[in-house]
Amino acid sequence: MPAVRDSLFAFRRAPLLSALSITTIAFSLFAVGLFGLVVVNIRQALERVEERVEIRAFVAEKTPVEQIALAANEVAKYAEVQSVDLVTQEQALERARRELGEFKDVFEAEFLPPSLDVHLKSGFRDPATVHQVADRLKALSFVEDVRFGEEWITQLYRLRNIAGVAAVALGLAFAAVAIIIIGATIRMAVLARSREISIMRLVGATDGYIRRPFLIEGFVKGILGGALALGLTWLAIHVVSGYLSFQTVFFDQRLALVGLAAGAMMGLVGSAFSVGRHLPQV
């Protein structure tokens, strides 16, 4: 196929131009990729944090243990509830010491009340549901007080929403920029080959024939750009996570393929658009 050969020839003939467009595709996808990874990692972190969403119902001090255990069984049957832990006074102290860190020596007295610690099922950890469950717990006769870090849960969800919206917005913006840059590169390629194109026309080449190598060029560059972006992202994440020593997740195979496909699409769309617009002007 001379079209393929032609488009590969374009790489040899204008290695810098080609490298530039691949690099720009790679950089835009790299940016999207980095951001995507931030999102992926934030989400993971959020999920881990979310698991700690719990409602703590403090029990009046003189309540018999049997009654609490009974109530615990009752609460465990709520549709939203994943598990219920009964925390005795000793366990509460132990935990407080752990959680309050450097002040641990300071806690001597047994002053923490026992509690029922309720974990919700995933999918039921949004502020509204938490509120609802908390209200039901509050209605139990032996419960003195219910705490669940309302502020904190709301903030968590707000952060997640911001991250999601930003991911989509930035992704779209960068894709647009990349397509524009590819279009510009193809336009330059068209201009650089304008003499060749006009001669092709004069010896009887069809528009499809003239167009094909540009499309293939865009497609191949897109794929290469996508692959480069994946490599860069992988490298960046590993360097960063190695340096700051925190755990990170990389894209799975499916997402990596999506990245390549996105590169190819960007290359194809950009070149198709640009060729369509600029070929008639040559």
């Binding site: 004069l202 010896v203 080449a205």
Partner: protein, 232 residues
């Protein structure tokens, strides 16, 4: 093969480059197009391969009309033509060989057939030894012959040549002319714009002379008129 009917061509700032031009060229005919610089010769050729469209009138070439042709049919027309441009139009970054092969690749000739056709065409114009030279490594006359080889290579039904001997010495000019005659003898119509009056005088092919966008002399018409006068 070619029919111009009352063709006028205006260029934006210039006004009319061609003015009410009518003539026709039959299948297999050999026609010279002459006239001073700026008379409109290249314009007529551009109308034939439909790089330009007439402002008024109709141009018919190989059964296609400038009035009704769709843009996507123009490649089909051009594949039937061989064109030698006044300014060669060779690709600087391809060898002589590749420049000729180019015309075949573009029209989808199978790869296996290309090599043979290309070397035959280059041999015809006497440039077989320069097949792998780039245009900048060729003299002016050699470039012109590459351009001719490219026009010949796909066996056109009509060959259009714009001043194909402008950069050639007398001997090379006669060589190229002989080549065009041979092609014509094998059935291809030839339309050649030239300033070389010697060539026209020495052969007895039909010649059309242009001046300021009008046909001022057509040897075929003149002959017909003479015959008519003689018959009276």
């Amino acid at each position: 093969m070619i029919r111009f009917t009352k063709v006028t061509k205006d260029y934006p700032r210039l006004g009319a480059a061609l003015n009410d031009v009518s003539f026709s060229v039959a299948k297999g005919e050999f026609v010279f197009l002459t006239g001073p610089s700026g008379a409109g010769k290249s314009t007529i050729l551009k109308l034939i391969y439909m790089e330009e469209r007439p402002t008024d009138g109709e141009v018919r070439v190989a059964g296609l009309s400038s009035v009704t042709i769709r843009p996507r049919d123009i490649p089909k027309l051009r594949r039937k033509l061989g064109i030698v441009f006044q300014d060669f139009r060779l690709l600087e970054d391809r060898t002589a060989e590749a420049n000729v092969a180019f015309a075949l690749e573009v029209t989808g000739t199978p790869r296996s057939a290309i090599g043979g056709k290309v070397s035959r065409a280059l041999t015809q114009v006497g440039l077989a030894s320069k097949a792998t030279s780039y245009p900048r490594e060729l003299s002016g006359g050699e470039q012109q012959r590459v351009a001719i080889a490219r026009a010949l290579v796909n066996d056109p039904v009509l060959l259009i040549a714009d001043e194909p001997t402008g950069n050639l010495d007398d001997r090379a000019t006669r060589g190229v002319f002989q080549l065009l005659r041979d092609i014509n003898a094998s059935g291809t119509a030839v339309l050649m714009a030239t300033h070389n009056l010697d060539l026209i005088r020495r052969s007895d092919y039909r010649s059309i002379e242009l001046n300021r966008g009008k046909i001022v002399f057509d040897s075929a018409e003149a002959a017909r008129a003479a015959i008519e006068r003689f018959a009276e």
